[in-house]
Amino acid sequence: MIERITAGIDVGAGAVKVAITASRAGDAGRVLASAVERIRRREVHELTARLFADVCRQAGVEPEALPYVATTGDTEAVPFATGHFYSMTTHARGALFLEPRARAVLDVGALHARAIRTDERGKVLTHRMTSQCASGSGQFVENIARYLGVPLDDVGALSQGSRAPEAVSGICAVLAETDVINMVSRGVATADILKGIHVSIAVRLAKLLRSLKTQGVVFVSGGLSLDTGLVDAVRESLGEDRGAPLEVVTHPDGILAGALGAALLGSYRHAQLERRARAQADAAAAVAP
């Protein structure tokens, strides 16, 4: 079996993620190199091109030698891509790579969250998204962390230390932010505010998952998969809502799920296109005199 080395580029609203994988038909594949960089007001085309070049160097591959460069997220930022896969397809595939037991994915990114039910191949069976309100998104957590003067990386651990979480509006980011300002004036502990925020998001995410009638293992992907406080809150919400038990897991590379999924699907698609081309050539040869 040929080992295919392919790249996946996930241009999200808050960060660019790049992964290069090697895989053979039927095997799980392995990661050769990967990187994540937050966009932070930089020109996204330039950032993506530079990060892609860096990851190619790390992996020891020439960009031109890659048979398939797959994008997900903002495709316009990657004019040199071979193909594009939609983000829920790539997160489903990336989740399966990082957790082979996953049959559902909670992709929580900077601008929205999405629950996806999948099969054993990573095929999307159905999905639900949060509404346009920012209150279920990473940008919301980031805003709150900034108001509270807490580094983003510390949010999860602080939230896990909360003893008396404060209830926050889970309907609207603007109302929730007003709640937070009131809590700060009342002297509520930062950890309890953060836990309240996590609970408000987790309740919405749990409802999304339940609406899909998911079972078994749920993989949390996207930027907020690194937020241990949120992942705990999701587990708690699902434990309290009297639905079927669900195992919520994540992975240190959960933020890379889209890029990994894109790379692996690129490999799959490349093999598929080669098979079709061979079949067409064989059919043409068979009818030739």
């Binding site: 495709t75 040199f80 896969f85 939609y86 829920m88 397809t89 095929k123 999307v124 799959y268 698609r269």
Partner: protein, 400 residues
């Protein structure tokens, strides 16, 4: 399939200037161009017309500038809404809004080709609201026998021609009509050449660009549109790039009220190469050349309509099988699937859709369907649906 050779920088795109001009025409519905043309041709008439098909060569032969009035796009509709119930599509509202707001002041006549009862009613409303503007309902035959439908259609064309002449158009001269038909045929062939590029090298000619370049022709004389098309085709031939692994789709159902430009772009961004569509069907409605050598050029225009009109929802197809024409388009375009995109409350498109979907089911062609309005501003859900469709067709070889 090899990846990355960096394409030409976007600001060095050889088609940039011609696309800019096309978009400028779209943004004001070609009205500035019509005003400029009227300044250059004092006394001549600008004749507005609605979808789907209008006999543009006839208008040109009468010395008029045909101007496609295909709705107001995403323009705010305030007064237009007050004339229609909530279950009526958006194009009559926005068109009326253009009228009552004075935006169509430079349009001397409005022709409403038969497509549905809403447009027929709009023609009556136009006559009452704008008594100084000539408004004609162009009834088209659904009986395609020359002695019945042909005679009727010819009488319709002669009636409108005569009314326009009474309002200042040039007399109908067979030689001028013949010349207009020759140019119209050339424009149609250029549009077919554009379609060839879309089918063979979709990366070179995205549907969103083809749409802009095609629709710009609604505001131009055929000769000017032919020049614009030639310029665009020459420019995109210079583009460097490589094929993308996108799903190839035929977009259908959008022949009247036009989807917002962002919707077409969203489909492309979701991984769809739209290799054929019916967005500006009127410009290629006649399949094949109109006989420019005929002794009776008006008769040739009528015969072309009777014998070679495109199969679309507003045309009766007798005993033919609904869906065969769409399937033929799918096969010609080597499309992987169909996107049914119909304007909300568009009876012709939505009543046809179940029959067309059944035909696609029968032929094993995957499809997805959604509705839009010309002023739809949020494309996320449509992009999500198209993205899921594109991935499912390519990866799993089935609709989601």
């Amino acid at each position: 399939m090899k990846a990355p050779l960096a394409p030409a920088p976007r600001d060095a795109d050889p088609a940039r200037d011609v696309l800019r001009r096309a978009h400028a025409l779209l943004e004001d519905h070609g009205l500035a161009n019509a005003a400029a043309w009227k300044r250059d041709h004092p006394g001549r008439l600008a004749v507005g017309y609605m979808p789907v098909y209008a006999p543009r060569p006839l208008f040109e032969a009468l010395g008029c500038l045909p101007v496609a009035v295909f709705g107001g796009g995403d323009r705010d509709v305030i007064r237009g809404d007050s004339y229609f119930q909530s279950y009526i599509c958006h194009i009559p509202r926005s068109t009326l809004e253009l009228g009552v707001s004075g935006a169509l002041q430079g349009i001397d006549a409005m022709v409403f080709p038969a497509i549905c009862d809403v447009i027929r009613n709009l023609s009556g409303m136009w006559q009452m609201l704008f008594p100084d503007v000539y408004a004609a309902y162009l009834d088209v035959p659904q009986n395609f026998r020359p002695e019945v439908g042909g005679a009727f259609y010819r009488a319709e064309l002669e009636r409108i021609a005569s009314d326009l002449v009474a309002r200042g158009a040039l007399a109908l001269d067979p030689e001028r009509l013949r010349a207009a038909i020759v140019t119209e045929n050339a424009r149609r062939r250029a549009l077919l050449a554009l379609g060839d590029v879309r089918r063979e090298e979709p990366w070179r000619c995205p549907a969103s660009e083809a749409y802009a370049i095609t629709r710009a022709g609604g505001a131009l004389l055929a000769a000017d549109h032919l020049a614009l098309l030639g310029e665009y085709l020459a420019a995109i031939a210079l583009r460097r790039g490589s094929p993308k692994d996108n799903v190839r789709v035929v977009l259908t159902g959008a022949f009247c009220e036009q989807p917002p430009f962002g919707l077409i772009k969203s489909l492309e961004l979701a991984g769809c190469d739209i290799v054929d569509d019916d967005l500006q069907l009127g410009l290629t409605y006649i399949e094949g050349d109109i006989d420019a050598e005929a002794a009776d050029p008006l008769g040739a225009l009528v015969t072309a309509f009777l014998e070679r009109g495109a199969a679309t929802a507003s045309r009766y197809i007798g005993d033919a099988h609904k869906g065969d024409a769409l399937l033929a388009r799918v096969r010609r375009a080597r499309a992987d699937g169909v996107v049914f995109a119909a304007a909300s409350f568009c009876d012709p498109a939505l009543l046809d859709e179940p029959m067309l979907e059944a035909a696609m089911d029968e032929a094993g062609v995957p499809y997805t369907s959604f509705k839009y309005a010309e002023n739809t501003g949020q494309f996320h859900v449509i992009r999500e649906q198209a993205g899921a469709f594109s991935d499912a067709v390519r990866l799993w070889e089935s609709a989601p």
